[in-house]
Symmetry: C2
Amino acid sequence: MPSAPRPSELRYGIRPTMKDVAAHAGVGLKTVSRVVNREPGVTPETEHRVQASIEALGFRRNDSARVLRKGRTASIGLVLEDLADPFYGPLNRAVEEVARTHGALLINGSSAEDPERERELALALCARRVDGLVVIPAGDDHRYLEPEIRAGMATVFVDRPAGRIDADVVLSDSFGGARAGVAHLIAHGHRRIGFIGDHPHIHTAAERLRGYRAAMAEAALPVAEAWTAPGSTAPGRVAAAAEAMLDDAAEPVTALFAGNNRVTVTLVRVLAARTRPVALVGFDDFELADLLRPAVTVVAQDAAALGRVAAERLFDRLAGARPAAERIVLPTTLVPRGSGEIPPAG
Amino acid sequence: MPSAPRPSELRYGIRPTMKDVAAHAGVGLKTVSRVVNREPGVTPETEHRVQASIEALGFRRNDSARVLRKGRTASIGLVLEDLADPFYGPLNRAVEEVARTHGALLINGSSAEDPERERELALALCARRVDGLVVIPAGDDHRYLEPEIRAGMATVFVDRPAGRIDADVVLSDSFGGARAGVAHLIAHGHRRIGFIGDHPHIHTAAERLRGYRAAMAEAALPVAEAWTAPGSTAPGRVAAAAEAMLDDAAEPVTALFAGNNRVTVTLVRVLAARTRPVALVGFDDFELADLLRPAVTVVAQDAAALGRVAAERLFDRLAGARPAAERIVLPTTLVPRGSGEIPPAG
DNA sequence: CTGAAAGCGCTTACAG
DNA sequence: CTGAAAGCGCTTACAG
């Protein structure tokens, strides 16, 4: 720990610069720069003198200026949907860790699912000249980023594909995961299975619905119109959809597949209030799923891997790699815990 | 949406500058600056010509350079313990929202509970010249920030107090919350209550233990040595401590108070494996606490308010306010859900 | 209404 | 081994 600077030399609210240090030490600006950056070619004596001045004045290099000259900001931007959403926590952290190993800081922000806000944020990050951008898309038209990408902004999309532009994207296997989850229910004897998911204009939601249909088709099971309910994940909408499927007089479903974790949680609440047991498999894992009764069977995605792979791809590009834009799909894992193994009632 | 720039004028990987725009439009640099910043004193005709050049070249102002000249970076730093911890999600988001209303970006990172890493991150943010710093402390000695604060870096600590320096801090009422939670158990007839919390060198953990002792003392209840188990929150340690208290031959506890949400979750698992019902109150709310059986009674903190108040304090200082460093304590809320209202067995 | 010059705090490219 | 000059891309302060 350096000795505390003599108060007489410190001025409140004023930052000493390299120029100040140079004057204080009686050396040239460049010599201070050499010492600060541990460049060779400074006698130990000079170095010591400069170091003393640095401490006396409380100097800390202004990386913001450094970065302007160097051309790289050693920071990357991450646009996510909601900083407070537990699903994105591990993804966020994984991106941060990769950035850290590359000496870069992370600037991030929430789009709040608003395409316009996503655009503003992403462009603000471009204006700051972050070295690269990781985007979890809220909108479905990313042509606004084309000039930036052409100007050299490395960009990788995660969780959902980019819209109307050609760019790297890292996704979970929504189709395969949903298909496996629904096949699991079929394997446990269900023939009437309901699907409740997010708005179908969201890519992942559409893929999961497609996975549901594929599993049903592969088992030669018909799908009644009333069994699929894509739409808002608002609890009221989800609960009403579930009740309708479960209480249908002619063809009540005996099992439900939830398109994401918010839907799953709502369905757990709905089912807890009912007497007849209903099987449930949800897309996305969530904390404490194993502590519920029954414990909830899920199709788990690896959110941390999503972030890690995306960030690594970004830094590969920053290091000069110029592969064609690619779609990287990560596998999901079915985690049987109880709710998905309940046999059909009756 | 602006028309796409003519490809011939765009150069891959090269950013046009104001100088380029000025040359293209046949005007001076300052005129471009005026148009970009919407400053008055430009004829509509000139403005139009400049705007056309901006679009033709795909110019976007380099805010990184702007910021160097302006002196403020319009960004704030947030050092938290773990970007992936659900508890910090709402805090993170709240800080972001406040920053957003002030036109600032958020740079954040995890200390991973490592004081050295906290220090590196905080100082890296200072070197970037963020306008201010919000820190969730990992260490207990923050004197390393003294020169920065003296140089004008606005700094606010959250969730835990700063160590050995005088600075603003925003805290939840750990003492009062724990006292209320334990008093709640006492009110439901318990006389032998166990406390399992985090390491006592963590300020919040110590305060919660103090709250436990205060509630017991106020009810004139003795506290056996074996009933308090501060230490690691590792599930093994916590489970062992709980088993020991519950199985004590002479004075088994009939209720447990958990010092934070990680402890609570472990205790839920321990209690689920037992037959005799045991009352439980946990510090910190967590998702799905109401869906467990019994639903878990908690002392809830308002993590979003913690972040909001801290960030607002920071921006007040950035706006010129110079109040003395203050400790702001936010109230907690007891949320009875079932587990805390179980009467003593026998 | 418009623009040339200086400067923000560094690094780069050179010269001694 | 050391340092003066130019420049990164803007804004500020000023002059016309």
